[in-house]
Symmetry: C2
Subunit: 347 residues, 2 copies
Amino acid sequence: MTEGPTITTIAQRAGVSIASVSRVLNGLPTREDTVRRVMRAADELGYVPNSVARSLRNRRTDQIAFAMADIGNPVYVAMVREVQPLLKEAGYRLLIHSTDGDAEDELGVLRGLRERYVDGLIISPLRGVTEEHVEAIVAARAPVVVIGSLPEDMPDGALVDNVRTDSRTGVRLALDHLHAIGRRRIGFLNGPLGTVPGAARAAAYREALEALDLPYDEDLVEVGDFYRDSGARAARALLARAPGVDALMCANDLIALGALDVLREQGRDVPGDVAVVGMDDTDLASVTWPTLTSVSLGSAERGRAAAGLLLDRLQNGPREPRVVVVRPSLTIRGSTTLPEASPGGAR
Amino acid sequence: MTEGPTITTIAQRAGVSIASVSRVLNGLPTREDTVRRVMRAADELGYVPNSVARSLRNRRTDQIAFAMADIGNPVYVAMVREVQPLLKEAGYRLLIHSTDGDAEDELGVLRGLRERYVDGLIISPLRGVTEEHVEAIVAARAPVVVIGSLPEDMPDGALVDNVRTDSRTGVRLALDHLHAIGRRRIGFLNGPLGTVPGAARAAAYREALEALDLPYDEDLVEVGDFYRDSGARAARALLARAPGVDALMCANDLIALGALDVLREQGRDVPGDVAVVGMDDTDLASVTWPTLTSVSLGSAERGRAAAGLLLDRLQNGPREPRVVVVRPSLTIRGSTTLPEASPGGAR
DNA sequence: TTGTATGCGTTATCAC
DNA sequence: GTGATAACGCATACAA
């Protein structure tokens, strides 16, 4: 018995037709006696239905994919962590795609939807939704949820929902806070301007300064990558150019880590000399010393929202596209509050 | 055209049989002219093969599942991060199961293999491989790789490989190091003894002490959970009971974080007064202050090994079960080295 | 080289 | 209620 039992095997053993077997297994009304015989045979054979055959017939896989740039990134981990149990609860399995933020890879995933190996997709395109992304989304007849920004003019009939955050407001919250604690020379360590978050945060920084009546000073801005070592390099450059800076706004937590490294290395007190704010409010923020004040962009909530929208579409059928905007918030920690405010005071 | 094109659609359009279409699409020898017509029709129709139908026919899904306790745990993230690209490279998609370390959930995944929705499985059972696990592994005719310990007496014919680490040696490395830097009263903050790592590390701690000719002192041992707050509670209790402790061996990095919190709160210098060693060498270890010396159990390497074993089995067919043991190593950082040893005062 | 026919394992539609 | 049978979309043995 190297091949597994099928409904045919059961039918033979129980002396009934495969139709009856299928009915029994699916709980359709059947005569008592037939039910017993089928159940017994299935039990003895250790029958388990073949999910592939069922999928082919039912035209659904009970699988959902989540495509992100990098599963190692704490932001995505936070999302997956929320998405997984929701899907499981609803009876779906979860597939993970790591795209490295490569647009071609993302397109591959979107186009792959036509293979019908999943019933829906959550995707977070790092560099934005291009014309080609849109085409692929329209061509895919499976529902898609895009985490991030989406063009205003999506074609009608696209099965797509959108979850986004508002990093503009996020940066604003951070700068307001820094201003409130007396900082006036607020530097900005950003990620690549070619990425959606990078571009948005750059604009947001300018706007926030303006709103606070602070001058925009090119010397206070440094662009690097969204990593720790890159953040360190950027911080070093900025501090060399503008030694008088009294706060550093960082475009994500990893950059902030790099900044903290450099400030410690240079013997500058945080937050005494320089206050530091990160972004994403990842698990790392509560681990550093001092702990890191960070703008939360609601990663967990975005994950939940994305899963919710997709499941709703899968369960309740077509409807107008929806957009969920998750409001940012500021989690204030040690890197922007003076020591006397942090009990225990062990420094 | 609400339904997608199939080989039948193409066959009609190209004026050939579905067999020819299939042949062309699979690159089998075909007349030049036929190839052109089929390709053209496929192209015009935007044909994409249905992966479910193909799976049913080919008896393979090109999918592999990875079941772990918690996708939020940095150890598993490190593994997934290695596994994902290897599978992708080999043409497999990755499914993620989060089991919460629940044995029933784990069994569900193992038994689910009989549904044939994946070609293979990597699983890391948190509380060990029970009799029932073994049964399910044998019953599943898909290859399985177990990360963690596996019973010696697996039944013949089980398609299972094993990747494990050697936490005994790991703990030993840590205690040798602590001893070498002059520590003699080495406390131990462990996780639940009901878990495989918890039990192994408890035994390893005793052994290591013995090897170093240090007495085993119950007051120096505290058992909690593998989390930060639990680690903090445990550290607090241990420090109250044994104020003279000069080092803390922690059963994982999260526990060590909690310990660092408490030590800072109590104004005890790390490593001056108390040295701290974590375990797993997660990303967090390089973020804390002081940075955390930690025993690396080779998470990344274990992930790679697991993927490698599974792929080998899928590609080269049956063979004897294999065991890969990943050797632990010690990454020495600030929590066990005195300040003067760390140049620039920043690590 | 090409077409016909069959099967992969299910579900569902019919007659009976 | 039950059984024969037709899909689902694809790949292939076999005959032409």
